[in-house]
């Protein structure tokens, strides 16, 4: 048994029991969908239809339907690709890195954050797939025995590394998530009747909760966490190398890998907060996803936001310090050129807003956190837009300078990708437990409000009263 100081803030508030936790989390899965779920799902599904329509149009017409031109040949497509991949990173950070650091608060949020990772990577993966122009021959990117000529794929190219990184990230995250789900699906199986018992029975893989299975399960989780931690760092590092290994001023910087990884975690946590603030309210899980959970996530946003902010400033300084004319121009053009509004939106949303989280009051004010998390999402989208478009639109040859603006196809694909993401998330929230039931039960004896009060009484410690 571990000893937890009663001075630590509780992770489960109010009275609780193992039975209560099962009921609270499995309840929404077993009940009929609520009114809000139905509305939310309908809106998401409508957006998904828009996505399917615009993707269909794109495939029928060709990539020319996008607003790209010979100067700006990466636009919203790659912006949105990097945006969605980044969002996924919080899930892996919460489930893997925080597991290695034995952070107990992760138990309430890991499941939904991991689901978010998978859905975000699905959204992300679609962009390079479609950008390739002929997605039906995308397997040419794999090192297959070559019947189309005699060449193998070029393993020196970061774009090829990306294919391996993203597909490995997707499949390993999916496996990690599913292994964690097995015991909880078994819980639902043993409460269900009829057809749903059969379905959850098949999905539960025959989990029996024996001590032997648990002991192996824990080791598997730990090793998967150990694998996912370098994996998540490698994924956004490789994404950043798509830019950093090129010779485009504004891209060709060694700071990119750590700066992209920090930015990814920053945006991912913002998305987790946006979703969880709604989900905890809609599914009445406020006693399991408490203000303390939101508080710590805000702190992570503040730290990663500060790393991103210092990276922006470092980048600017180094551009000047390098004394390379082109490098200097790229950055001056970013801040004061025709896309100045994108640059300053990015700076405001990503550098200034996270600093508001120094205030404890704001970290524990749900409305404020919700609004700031949306600002961070917007800011991080602009970061990718700024890096991609402003670096490309004025290149070495002024006669080929050009401006870029998206067509309706790009806009509806971006709006629609939220439809894809939220449709998957709504389905997940309805049919699978959104909180890891078994994992939350393991912290009842150390971190629930009831238990902490008991220990404090026994040890004669007075818990300071906190006013939220």
């Amino acid at each position: 048994m571990t000893y937890e100081s009663p001075l630590r803030r509780p992770l489960i508030t109010g009275k609780t029991s193992y039975k209560q936790i099962t009921d609270d989390i499995a309840g929404p899965v077993e009940a009929k969908p609520t009114k809000w779920w139905t509305y939310g799902f309908a809106v998401s599904f409508a957006a998904l239809c828009l996505y399917l329509f615009s993707v269909g149009y794109l495939l029928f017409t060709g990539v020319g339907a996008w607003g790209l031109n010979k100067t700006v040949d990466w636009g919203w497509d790659i912006t949105n690709f990097v945006f969605w991949v980044g969002i996924g990173h919080a899930g892996t950070l919460i489930s893997a890195v925080l597991l290695l650091f034995r952070q107990k608060w992760r138990t309430a949020v890991n499941r939904s954050a991991e689901a978010m990772t998978i859905f975000a990577v699905v959204c992300a993966g679609m962009y390079p797939l479609l950008h390739a122009g002929r997605p039906w021959v995308i397997y040419w990117g794999l090192p297959l025995p070559n019947t189309f000529g005699s060449l193998w794929v070029n393993f020196n190219s970061p774009l090829l590394w990306d294919i391996f990184a993203i597909s490995t990230y997707f499949s390993v995250s999916l496996v990690f998530w599913y292994v964690g789900l097995i015991p909880d699906i078994a819980t639902i199986r043993d409460r269900a009747t009829g057809l749903s018992k059969t379905i959850y029975g098949v999905l539960s893989f025959g989990w029996n909760g024996s001590a032997k299975a648990w002991s192996r399960f824990e080791v598997v989780s730990l090793v998967l966490a150990g694998l996912s931690t370098p994996l998540v760092l490698s994924v956004h590092t490789i994404v950043s190398m798509d830019f950093a290994t090129s010779v485009i001023p504004g891209w060709h910087t060694t700071i990119f890998p750590p700066y992209f990884v920090a930015g990814a975690i920053f945006s991912g946590f913002a998305m987790v907060l946006t979703l969880l603030i709604i989900a905890r309210k809609a599914m009445r899980l406020e006693h399991l996803i408490t203000l303390n959970h939101i508080d710590v996530m805000c702190k992570i946003i503040m730290v990663t936001g500060s790393i991103v902010g210092s990276a922006y400033i470092t980048e600017f300084f180094i551009a000047w310090y390098s004394a390379v004319e082109y490098e200097r121009y790229a950055f001056i053009n970013r801040a004061f050129g025709p896309y100045w509004w994108a640059y300053w939106s990015m700076m405001t949303c990503n550098v200034i807003t996270p600093q508001l989280f120094w205030s404890r009051k704001l970290r524990r004010n749900l409305l404020a956190v919700f609004i700031i998390s949306i600002f961070v999402n917007i800011g991080m989208w602009f970061e990718r837009f700024v890096i991609i478009v402003t670096s490309l639109h004025r290149d070495y040859l002024p006669s080929s300078w050009a401006m870029y603006s998206p067509t309706w196809v790009e806009i509806s694909m971006f709006v629609g990708s939220f439809g894809l993401f939220f449709t998957l998330f709504f389905l997940f929230a309805k049919f699978l437990p959104v909180i890891a039931i078994a994992e939350v039960k393991t912290v009842v004896k150390t971190s629930s409000e009831e238990f902490i009060a008991e220990t404090a009484k026994k040890d004669g410690i007075k818990i300071p009263v906190e006013v939220d």
Binding site: M1, Y18, K19, T22, P143, S150, L151, W152, N154, F155, N156, P158, L160, W161, F164, A165, T168, S171, V172, V175, V179, I182, P183, A186, T187, R189, D190, R191, G201, V202, L203, S204, F205, G206, W207, N208, G209, S210, A211, K212, A213, W214, S215, R216, F217, V219, V220, V223, L224, L227, P230, L231, S234, I238, I437, A438, E439, K441, T442, K445
Partner: protein, 175 residues
Amino acid sequence: MKNKYLLGFFNDEEVLMHALEEVKKETQAPIHEVYSPFPIHGIDDILGYKRTRLPIAAFLFGCVGLSCGLGMQTWMLGYDWPMNIGGKPYLAWPDFVPVSFEFTVLVTAFGMVGTFLLACGFFPGAPAKIPDPRVTDDLFCVAFNASAIGDKAQAISQALKHHGAIEVREQEVEL
């Protein structure tokens, strides 16, 4: 196959752990298995389970993944069809790091999870061999194989009750 088991049910994992220690001391009966809704730390020692060898399997899978990834790239770009890319070396080792790494992670993760499922006998649609549906909810259960404990059944059942079991019963069940 169904067998006869003596099942003791508890509603708290600490009470269960204490009871198991006491029952072991009093009767020296071999415990078949313990079922719980979440992992109980320290129970492996009471049951005498050795540390799982899954990490060794993971390491071996990792070695396989790494050598496959590195070997594939070396063979393809170094021997099978070398490509001159801007006059750079054919075997550019640093460039092979990312793909080799991803291969290692991929093979390790899938290999380890596969081994785990195989070792536990879990697969999609496998029958759930549980003593009671509530062991995945809020009930903790210890099972003794009736044929292994022989005439100690009475003593064990009394000891379990004495140390806080909420229910003790004999049951024909597949575990």
